[in-house]
Symmetry: C2
Subunit: 369 residues, 2 copies
Amino acid sequence: MTSTELHIVVPAGGSGTRLWPLSRAANPKFLHRLTGTDRSLLQATFDRLVPLSSAENLLVVTGTAHAAGVARQLPDLPERNILVEPFARDSCAAIALAAAVIDKRGPGAVMASFAADHLIADTAEFAHTVARAVDGARAGHLMTIGITPTRPETGYGYLRCGEVAERSVIQRVLEFKEKPALDVATKYVESGSYLWNASMFVWRTDVFLTELAARRPDVADPIRAIAAAWDTPAQDAVLAELWPTVPKVAVEYAVMEPAAEEGKVATVPGDFGWSDIGDFETLGELLGVDAGAGCRSVATGTHDGKVVAVDGAEMIIVPAGGRLVATLGVRDLIVVDTDDAVLVCARDRAQDIKMLTEILRTRGDLDYV
Amino acid sequence: MTSTELHIVVPAGGSGTRLWPLSRAANPKFLHRLTGTDRSLLQATFDRLVPLSSAENLLVVTGTAHAAGVARQLPDLPERNILVEPFARDSCAAIALAAAVIDKRGPGAVMASFAADHLIADTAEFAHTVARAVDGARAGHLMTIGITPTRPETGYGYLRCGEVAERSVIQRVLEFKEKPALDVATKYVESGSYLWNASMFVWRTDVFLTELAARRPDVADPIRAIAAAWDTPAQDAVLAELWPTVPKVAVEYAVMEPAAEEGKVATVPGDFGWSDIGDFETLGELLGVDAGAGCRSVATGTHDGKVVAVDGAEMIIVPAGGRLVATLGVRDLIVVDTDDAVLVCARDRAQDIKMLTEILRTRGDLDYV
């Protein structure tokens, strides 16, 4: 293994609470067939990434609850490439662990990180964009791939770039911006110099780990010790001792934002039909088919029920419980049927669905979360 | 058995399509626990009626699909008192068959007929009213028990009475009125001389059968022959030959309306907290409990799921599939979950739910009807 190979990391965490009750803590969205095919989001991600590198050089970082699901869905992924966190410590820990393990296995490698649960329509353009980002990473930049925005989305963070974004050309990232209000998002998109932050990162492991050590030794030190013990008989004991001490922090906050201020972050704008399948609105838009009466029905490929919609409008129906879902005279609703829970939600409340999971947790109804 | 005993007939038919998907052709509402207790509507009807007579003198007329359900729900009802129609021929055939069988078993008996799926709050007042109606029947009238209207309901037929209705006093019925428009219903109720037709009838079997024979020999002749063969080895062969020839007609249309024109029909106004549990609006009103956020949750006693409602209003939720039903930011909806179907319906479309069963029939989805 040499430092010229591309290593790819797929953090597979998060329960997708805005897709509840379809997505659960025990059965998160990346394991679901939300791709319009018989492949799960994780499998589609694997299919898309392996040609850019190899299964040998692809790592999935996941939690204890999903290790088996990942292993079964990706039979071609070597066992040693499934890194199982004892419990979630946010994205900085997950990515740093992967970077440190990759660096240990092949020092100075270029590493890319892509979420397990995003959809990408134009695979060829995606590969082309990643190749440009790898060039930037080899030159020592902390690279991101920012998504050319198509609407003033308030659900994403943004990257403020140094010049007008142009497809596949490396640009400086001046600033990371949190999820904006609608008026701010509209200005961002109109300005032409903002991209969506899709948490797609490409860098040399040595460059990233040096930045991390300088800025967050509280993360870097335990991660370095854990990585040193990885693949050895000491792995379990070291994890037990040190993992609980790793701070919970997002990699953007810990490393990328301060590095951007120092001119160390660059981006390649991506324009390859990206979607994060983060909520039922996106699901309906991308995967829904006309079910009559203004309703879109979303098949999830496992246990799809029938839909009969009468005198409706602007409905998104996900009949994933195998039952018939019938609607009469209703509009602007999301209806989701699953094996053990049914959701009826106003479409303009789609972003608040996670509230329900919080209420259920509070009530002690953990089976449904 | 003498003619002074009261015989009671309970026609148990109809699939309650306005309560779909809770009520099905194969599992109609009278077999459901829609009483707020662990008794079904049929059982509650039996409990209410037996003290007015006896299980020996109570007949249930039902279809082939429900004979077993009736037999199991009413273990104290003698087998010979479950009259099973080969297939449904509307209310005149069902009631005439019962009248003829009762007349055969005990000529000149007084017979009362009450639906299997109505709720009555004040059992004592009900018994008192029935006793007055029996007095009228003994005197030779075709008696009805009309319900004192509490609102301008457009879902019921009305009885126009000869004078202002007064509780438990026999009055002439001048006319049977079909389900009226709202403005007409409002006038009816304001006039004070209209009662709801709840299809509660009380008469001497000989009086009724004579009226039927005079007006509708096409019904009376085959029914008389069938009744003659009832309880004999010839029953099955005679049913096979004659039942298909019996016209489908409502008893109101065949007998009561023309008899009323001739002054032969009287009524006792009833004021005993009657409800027909005909739709989800009634179900929510009578049996719903506060589930928070302006929602009423209706337990059906068999397979009740949990409800979590957030930021809602004016909802009726029937979680009869054992699943969690969650709603967020929605109002004025009926949500019904069952083992194999989910309904989401605008409350102002509750009367149109039977449309869905018709659509499902047309599509060939008979399992759901």
